[in-house]
């Protein structure tokens, strides 16, 4: 088990390094960041000063390894635009994104798990198809379209929810639904598959024979076992939602990490972009690693695969 975890850890670190290197080189593919920083009317002299000041006049590999060296020592750099240490800015905004991610995940689980259970009770029935349909619509709809549609009805037409911002809990309702709805199909189908398998097992038949109530059978005996793979999936999806919040945070003017990433790309704030990608990829990798470890613990066959 330890050897497996060590192997996965090395693999995870290599993924993080690769993601960083690719991001770093891709940002330079879109042109000279000094032009964005200096603005349209910057003179050649201004641009040369900016390049020298930020070190953009050095070869890209040198810049990358300088950045990596500092990052390993905990120094993620200084934002060109916000004029703040990158780490300070990221950790100021991270709680907002975490709150959004948590609310979205909660919404997804509250919707998808009962749907999965309902679908498993009557497999291939109309109820099953409806449950599947509700979940799949979430994945099929572009999140920006869904977000704007909600905004139109709930804010503009009915005036029951605020349009944008993060002032109250009500501000998180629409963004959480827009973000969480997208992952419901995966959770719902995994719940359904797990429940179908568990409901046919011997201990459930025994429980049923003992006269256990239907509710207790489904939610106390069956769901508890069927939900284990869902938990690991949810962990991974939480990482996805932190990264995937870019569109939702931009639409709902939520001052979180996703919005910061979008703005940093727009203004070529390289240190900020690099750090956000690193943090988000580390989150994702960490959650994937956690899920792998949990699966390996549950199923010894994975450890030797």
């Amino acid at each position: 088990m330890l050897a497996y975890l060590f192997k996965r850890l090395i693999s995870a670190l290599l993924v993080a390094l690769t993601v960083s290197a690719i991001t770093f080189s891709m940002t330079f593919l879109t042109g000279d960041p000094a032009i964005t920083l200096g603005g349209e009317t910057a003179t050649q002299e201004d641009l040369a000063t900016i390049r020298e000041f930020y070190g953009y006049d050095k070869p890209i590999p040198v810049q990358f390894f300088n950045w990596l060296g500092n990052a390993v020592q905990g120094d993620l750099g200084h934002s060109h635009y916000l004029n703040q240490p990158v780490a300070t800015e990221i950790f100021t905004r991270l709680p907002t994104t975490m709150t959004l991610g948590f609310c979205a995940l909660l919404f997804a689980l509250v919707l998808a798990i009962p749907l999965g259970v309902v679908a498993a009770i009557r497999p291939n029935s109309l109820l099953d198809r409806i449950a599947l349909g509700v979940a799949v619509v979430g994945q099929a709809m572009p999140s920006f379209w869904f977000a704007l549609t909600m905004m139109l009805w709930f804010s503009i037409n009915w005036g029951i929810l605020p349009v944008s911002g993060t002032d109250t809990w009500a501000h998180f309702v629409m963004p959480s639904i827009a973000l969480g709805y997208y992952i419901t199909p995966g959770v719902m189908r995994l719940t359904r598959a797990g429940m179908l398998e568990v409901l046919q097992s011997d201990y459930i038949r025994t429980a049923r024979a003992k006269g256990v109530s239907r509710f207790s059978l489904l939610f106390k005996h069956a769901l508890r076992n069927a939900i284990i793979p869902v938990v690991s999936l949810a962990a991974v999806q939480f990482g996805f939602m932190l990264g995937g919040s870019i569109v939702i945070e931009t639409i709902f003017a939520i001052n979180g990490l996703g919005f910061l990433a979008w703005e940093s790309i727009q203004r070529a704030d390289l240190p900020m972009m690099q750090a956000i990608v690193l943090i988000l990829s580390l989150f994702y990798i960490m959650l994937t690693y956690f899920a792998d470890a949990m699966n390996a613990w549950l199923d010894p066959r994975i450890r030797v695969a």
């Binding site: 000279d32 503009i156 001052n255």
Partner: protein, 509 residues
């Protein structure tokens, strides 16, 4: 992606009725743009938002009047040139900063000294590097000396050079690198509004400066509070506007602006801006496409493109076709140059004369408003010129342009909102990487205009340069850009072509 989203919201608006907007009861004007404001300082935040807020919190010595096209007194009450490299200002008496300290010549000197001291690292050098020094004549008289004659000096004094109180940046705390971090200083100006609260990257709240002086070019502010926040998505801005969360927004996409205007729930207006569209040719053939070295081909291009249709149908009602390498509102700009009317038959004839009876194929580069470039390509195709569109990020395209790799680049230029041809013609046709022609005759004429402070002399010099540029077709000037504004029906607001909204002049109806 953006146009898809825009179309989606347009379709959604079409399906439903629009409700009434909120009122003016809290005496707070809420406005938003898509940019974050990190630092409330006009020198250490190089953004349009800080140019706007700079005029709210601070004052310059003069203020450009968009109607008279003259400079009005602001912190200075009068001025007098001494040759073309020095100007003496009489300063306004009785002006106080937000912290209560009195404004004097020492504050002007401090501001100039701070800017020109390279060690302070004020980023946008071009706005101040024309100044040499400022000297005190008396408490209310100051003399500013220039490094060289600078045609745009007063434009910078109006829009960019905001006067800070003496010792302002001395209060800066030290950053992690041990250097002074000038962005940490609390904003303090003489302007009609003062900062009441701000959160970097989120919002800036301004309250009226009750002690603001009377008789200046900005008048007396009317609205009690003016709050800024960042909303990146234009659809969200409009939703906030319709639900009363915002009172003012700009850069509204055209199709949404038309729909909003029809609803009557907000006031929508299309106004000209200082930005123009132009097509630059590869005059010297450095891109390995020889066609545009031939003037007949450039003329054929000019006759082939229906600029009028693009301006009126795609850009907005306030857009106009331009024939000169400048914005018609800029000082020194003249439309009395060679003009090329839309005439596809003439374009075909010119192509045949140039040796391209069947047209030719080339790479067309653009970066802004793809639909405008596609309309150009459609017009060119109609006369047999086949353009392959290369769509790039501005910063990537500019590098290609500077390397001379683009046969044609369809670009735009905003002149930094400066209403003077020195901010555009001088930038592009006096040599350097942006100059497509490097024509010594053009450059010499521009230099004469740039180094004179006599308006008549300048106009003559620029007219000569602009005449050559149009006759030789180094550029094909296209049209002026416009901007759609949407604001509360309760608001009296007048947009200006320099894209600096005067919130201090706005009032409630």
């Amino acid at each position: 992606m953006k146009s898809v989203k825009t179309s989606v919201l347009f379709a959604l608006f079409a399906m439903t009725a629009l409700p009434a907007i909120a009122d003016k009861s809290d005496d707070t004007l809420n406005w938003a743009t898509d940019k974050e404001v990190a630092v409330v300082d006009p020198y250490f935040s190089v953004t349009r938002e800080l140019i706007v807020m700079g005029q709210m919190g601070w004052d310059g010595l003069v203020l450009y009047n968009n109607e008279t096209r003259e400079f009005d007194p602001l912190l200075a009450t009068s001025w007098k040139w001494d040759g073309n490299t020095a100007v003496e200002f009489k300063l306004r008496e009785g002006v106080v900063f937000h912290d209560g300290s009195a404004f004097t010549a020492d504050d002007v000197i401090y501001t100039v000294d701070f800017l020109v001291n390279e060690a302070n690292g004020v980023p946008a050098k071009s706005i101040y590097n024309w100044m040499k020094k400022a000297t005190k004549i008396d408490d209310l008289t100051v003399r500013i000396e220039l490094n060289a004659p600078t045609a745009t000096a007063f434009n910078y004094l109006s829009n960019e050079i905001m006067i800070m109180p003496e010792g302002h940046y001395d209060k800066a705390s030290e950053g992690a690198d041990g250097k002074k971090d000038f962005t940490t200083v609390t904003p303090n100006g003489t302007g009609p509004y003062k900062v009441s609260e701000s959160k970097p990257g989120d919002f800036v709240k301004w309250e009226i400066n009750d002690a603001y002086f009377e008789g200046g070019a900005k008048g007396t502010p009317q609205i009690g509070n003016v709050n800024f926040r960042t909303i990146a998505e234009s659809n969200t801005q409009l939703a906030e506007l319709l639900t009363g969360g915002l009172d003012w927004a700009w850069d509204v996409p055209q199709e949404q602006a038309i729909r909003l205007d029809e609803s009557g729930k907000v006031t929508v207006t299309n106004e000209k801006t200082m930005r123009i569209s132009y097509i630059a040719f590869d005059i010297d053939g450095s891109s390995n496409t020889d066609a545009f070295t031939n003037k007949l081909v450039r003329q054929a291009m000019a006759h082939a493109i229906n600029r009028e249709a693009i301006a009126t149908e795609l850009v907005g009602p306030a857009s106009v076709v331009i024939h000169s390498a400048c914005h018609p509102d800029q000082f020194g700009c003249t439309e009395d140059v060679t003009q090329y009317e839309y005439d596809p038959q003439k374009a075909k004839a010119l192509l045949a004369e140039a040796g391209y009876p069947d047209g030719f194929e080339f790479d067309f580069y653009g970066y802004r408003q793809r639909e405008f470039s596609e309309a150009v390509i459609g017009d060119l195709a109609a006369v047999g010129i086949r353009a392959n569109l290369n769509w790039m990020q501005y910063r990537a395209l500019l590098a290609e342009v500077h390397a001379g790799k683009t046969p044609i680049n369809h670009m735009t230029w905003g002149s930094g909102s400066i209403p003077d041809v020195a901010a555009i013609t001088s930038h592009f046709f006096k040599g350097g990487p942006d100059d497509p022609a490097n024509d010594p005759l053009t450059a010499a004429a521009i230099e004469r205009g740039d180094t004179s402070v006599d308006p008549a002399e300048r106009e003559v010099a620029y007219a000569e340069a602009l005449g050559i540029i149009s006759e030789e077709l180094y550029w094909l000037p296209m049209f002026t850009y416009t901007k759609y504004y949407a604001f509360s029906n309760d608001l009296n607001f007048v947009p200006t072509p320099d894209e600096i909204p005067r919130f201090y002049s706005a009032s409630w109806k």
